[in-house]
């Protein structure tokens, strides 16, 4: 299955992936309207220390600890894609405790959110991949 991978060597810590992600999942058609003067809730986040940086998002693990830890049955797996049903999420943060990558986080509404590879929005190829200026983020089979 194709997943998002990050080639740390090429990450410029420009943080554009975060902005494209938040925009893509806002449901709005205008980036300015979606992001201007609002707190940012991206599902991918750039980790950075000194000159080393890389973007982190859901690894879509073959043995997803978040799924196992979810007390509400909100996290499910379909053909390798780990998705969250935000209507079912009760906001207990168990998945955040369980995920070793820090790939889940609270959304604007308080319930959890995670990267779903842009499979559940209307953007096709993941927007972080499309928007990365240096092809540091790739969507491929490994």
């Amino acid at each position: 299955m194709k997943k998002i991978y990050v080639n740390e060597q090429w990450c410029l810590a420009c943080h554009l992936c975060e902005y494209y992600c938040a925009y893509a999942n806002s449901g709005l058609s205008d980036m300015v309207q979606a992001l201007k003067d609002k707190p940012l809730h991206p599902r991918i986040q750039v980790e950075q220390r000194g000159t080393v940086s890389f973007a982190v998002n859901c690894r879509h693990c073959s043995e997803p600890l978040c799924l196992k830890s979810c007390i509400a049955g909100a996290i499910t797996e379909k053909d390798g894609l780990i998705v969250i049903d935000q209507d079912k999420c009760v906001g207990c943060y168990s998945c955040i405790m369980a995920c070793p990558y820090g790939a889940l986080m609270p959304s604007e509404s308080g319930v959890m959110q995670k990267c779903e590879l842009c499979a559940t929005n209307s953007h096709g190829l993941p927007v972080c991949v499309q928007g990365c200026p240096n092809q540091a983020i790739v969507y491929e089979e490994r």
Partner: protein, 501 residues
């Protein structure tokens, strides 16, 4: 602060209605133009540091930025123009030589734009390159002028060493040091895929790039940086750099600040020492001396590689080329005065040398008159901007062209002409690792391959239109060119008729 004589050249215009304060402009500007104002939650800019490289503009996700030329002005004066006055302020301040980068921006005539190309109508058929064969492969090197036969009457097919080009375009010399590791790697990968050559420039060859040797031309310049037997044998050809179009008469300069560990090792010079190439080769003061170096290099490579001699286009270029063609060199590369550079004194760059179009026409003509055109192939560079420039160069008599500025533009260069600052925001003309990583060679090489492939398509289209199906049939075919808006002297030098004639 004192008196600030210089008003910033550009204004950074930010559409605050569009700006989402993502700070990508701030993070990507090595000149530290942009900053975030915590108090207002808005981005702001210090335009005095802006070099107009468009990195921020290109990465801004909401197109909130644009850079405009300031309309701040001096009192109008056709003689004492604003830039002239500002240069004097700069020198009155620094006491130094004005430095500049890339090709001259001065408004000299561009002869490529004053030549028109022919096409077939009625009396001779044009050719559709999508349906019929069209040959853009060419070979560079000495050509036999007579057919020789062995004792059995069979034709001797052994020729002097040749460079085989799938497309008559090569990437011209840019040293590792003047451009980054990733820029070099992009060129090497692209040359390999295209079946052409890139050129190491005078800075030696990084050990990682020996694997691309089949598509590499290694250069020997007056500084002899990084030259050793392994290096000479690593490439497909050796180029002796006598001069460079952007700065004829002077050698290369690479400041010690750019001589990091890798570059010091590759150039074989001490860490952080300035790499200043002498203006002349101190062992070459005549064509005979040049011949000695040509043959020394041929000896060093067992006569397996063609030797290129690169010179800047200067006033008596045809006599110089005639000498080089008799020196044993296989290829002459001529660099016009509009050629680029990573750093040159501005006055030299803007005032020394001649246009490549005129140099090429006069050299080709002179070598033909003397019956030695076959001794050498001619490669020309110095601002080849498009496939039509390539086509016109070949019709004027070139065997192939060198491109560098076009290649850098494909890699992201926006011609801000501040390479000498070492803070290239596009990761090209810099050695700062944080900036170098901005050029991913996989992305860069793909863009280069796209550019040259596109040019090759266009070349074939235009050749087909003329009813010509090979580079060999186009070369020196000046009847395919007509001048437009040129006077008699220019037409005579170019060896072409005026449009309508």
């Amino acid at each position: 602060m004192g008196i600030n004589y210089l008003y910033p050249d550009f204004e950074v215009v930010r559409n605050q209605d569009r700006c989402i304060s993502c700070r990508v402009c701030e993070r990507q500007c090595a000149n530290e133009v942009h900053s975030f104002d915590e108090a207002t939650g808005r981005m702001k800019a210090d335009e005095s540091k802006c070099v107009n490289c468009h990195r921020c503009v290109s990465l801004c996700p909401t197109r909130a930025l644009k850079i405009v030329k300031t309309d701040h002005t001096f009192k109008e004066n056709a003689n004492w123009k604003g830039e002239v006055i500002q240069d004097i302020y700069r020198q009155a301040e620094s006491g130094g030589v004005l430095l500049a980068s890339m090709g001259t921006p001065k408004d000299y005539p561009v002869y490529w734009d004053k030549m028109l190309v022919n096409a077939s109508q009625v009396t001779n058929p044009s050719i559709d390159p999508l349906r019929e064969p069209m040959e853009t492969r060419t070979y560079l090197g000495q050509k036999e002028s007579v057919i020789k036969r062995d004792a059995n009457g069979k034709i001797i097919t052994k020729t002097a060493p040749q460079l085989k080009l799938e497309i008559p375009i090569m990437f011209s010399a840019m040293s590792y040091g003047s451009i980054s590791y990733n820029a070099h790697k992009s060129l090497a990968l692209a040359a390999q895929e295209l079946g052409i050559y890139y050129n190491t420039g005078e800075g030696g060859l990084h050990e990682d790039f020996y694997q691309y040797g089949k598509n590499t031309i290694v250069q020997v310049a007056s500084g002899r940086f990084g030259v050793h037997p392994g290096y000479l044998n690593a490439g497909a050809a050796i180029e002796i750099k006598m001069g460079q179009g952007a700065k004829p008469g002077i050698g290369g300069h690479l400041p010690g600040s750019k001589i990091g560990e890798d570059i010091s090792k590759t150039r074989m010079i001490p860490l952080h020492s300035d790499a200043i190439s002498p203006a002349p080769h101190h062992d070459i003061y005549s064509i005979e001396d040049l011949r000695q170096l040509v043959f020394a290099l041929k000896e060093a490579t067992a006569y397996t590689k063609p030797i290129i001699v690169k010179v800047a286009a200067v006033h008596n270029i045809s006599a110089i080329a005639s000498g080089i063609a008799r020196s044993g060199a296989d290829i002459i590369a001529i660099d016009g005065f509009r050629g680029g550079t990573g750093a040159a004194p501005a006055r030299t760059r803007d005032n020394v040398g001649i246009p490549i179009e005129l140099a090429l026409a006069s050299v080709d003509e002179r070598l033909r008159q003397e019956g030695i055109r076959g001794n050498v192939s001619l490669v020309v560079g110095g601002s080849i901007r498009s496939s039509s420039d390539v086509l016109k160069a070949i019709a004027l008599g070139a065997d192939a062209v060198y491109v560098a500025t076009s290649a850098l533009i494909a890699l992201g260069c926006h011609l801000c002409r501040t390479c000498h600052s070492g803070k290239c925001n596009w990761g090209i003309a810099t050695q700062n690792p944080e900036l170098v990583k901005r050029l991913n060679p996989e992305v860069g090489s793909e863009r280069l391959v796209n550019l040259i492939t596109a040019w090759n398509h266009e070349l074939k289209e235009m050749m087909g239109g003329m009813g010509i199906n090979s580079i060999e049939a186009l070369r020196g075919n000046r009847l395919m060119l007509r001048g437009i808006g040129l006077h008699e002297t220019e037409l005579n030098i170019l060896g072409i008729k005026h449009a309508g004639a």
